[in-house]
């Protein structure tokens, strides 16, 4: 049990706890907060996976933009005042399905004998290589991704913006 492992288990525990909070918290705002927690923990996991770059992206994009966005949305949709419970009637089925899937996925993860470099070692990926690849090897995805962002932008403006004569 190396210290990395210790760290991993801690982080993982936090992440799982956060996730649990997200999906179980009675109060919606709390689950938002739990989400932040979970995301941060996951960022830490990235670090453990020797991808600091992604960790940073994660913190910036999620810790910043996404959660703020979500909180705004909650505020605007006055989630608090929504009548009725937070969870739907099909919760037990949900639990069952999730459990079933979890078992399957875990078994798969353990049963599979993953091919690759035998040294159980996370190789550090050089950021330059990534950047380089993004613009050369992965040019199409990159450009399309930009289109996706534009679409999302236009879409959300068109849909969200209030028209004249609308309260």
């Amino acid at each position: 049990m190396t210290y990395e492992e210790v760290i991993f288990y801690v982080v993982a525990a936090v992440a799982v706890a956060g996730a649990l909070g997200v999906v179980t918290a009675r109060n919606v705002v709390h689950s938002a907060v739990f989400l932040i927690l979970a995301l941060m923990a996951v960022a830490a996991v990235y670090v453990l996976l020797a991808s600091e770059f992604l960790a940073i992206v994660q913190v910036l994009v999620y810790g910043g933009a996404v959660t703020i966005l979500i909180l705004f949305a909650m505020m605007l949709t006055r989630v608090r005042d929504q009548a009725g419970p937070v969870d739907g009637p099909q919760r037990p089925f949900a639990a069952f399905a999730a459990a079933a899937f979890m078992t399957t996925a875990i078994i798969v993860a353990l049963e599979t004998d993953w091919r690759g470099n035998s040294t159980e070692e996370a190789t550090v990926v050089d950021i330059n290589a990534i950047g380089n690849a993004l613009f050369t090897t992965w040019a199409i995805p990159f450009e399309i991704a930009s289109l996706v962002l534009i679409v999302a932008l236009i879409g959300s403006t068109v849909l969200a913006r209030g028209e004249e004569g609308e309260g």
Binding site: E5, V45, S51, L69, I70, A73, D87, E120, L149
Partner: protein, 102 residues
């Protein structure tokens, strides 16, 4: 060093929790958050595969990047739609939005 299985199991757990959230929650925003969790799990998968198994091409890492980007965009767009629904009908609970059925 940490064996890859740990990360995979972690992602499996996160993914399932997210799935549970999607299935169990009523509020659109909460469902979105759960989806985000699932995507996180996916990202963990990709990265761990990349760095442990196939570092030479690190396709997984690239994939992860794009997934994060898409996820962010998704949230934005989805929230816009949720907002639109709320404006028109004062609801954000998805199971109340069943004008159309059968």
């Amino acid at each position: 060093m940490i064996p890859i299985e740990n990360f995979l199991v972690l992602s499996a757990v996160l993914f399932s929790l997210g799935m549970y959230g999607v299935l169990a929650r009523r509020n659109a925003v909460l469902i979105l958050m759960s989806v985000e969790l699932m995507l996180q799990a996916v990202v963990i998968n990709f990265i761990s595969f990349a760095v442990y198994l196939h570092p030479e091409a690190f396709t997984g890492v690239i994939f992860a990047v794009f997934v994060i980007v898409i996820a962010a965009a998704e949230v934005g767009l989805a929230l816009a739609i949720v907002l639109r629904v709320f404006r028109n009908r004062q609801i954000s609970n998805v199971d109340e939005a069943d004008l159309m059925k059968w």
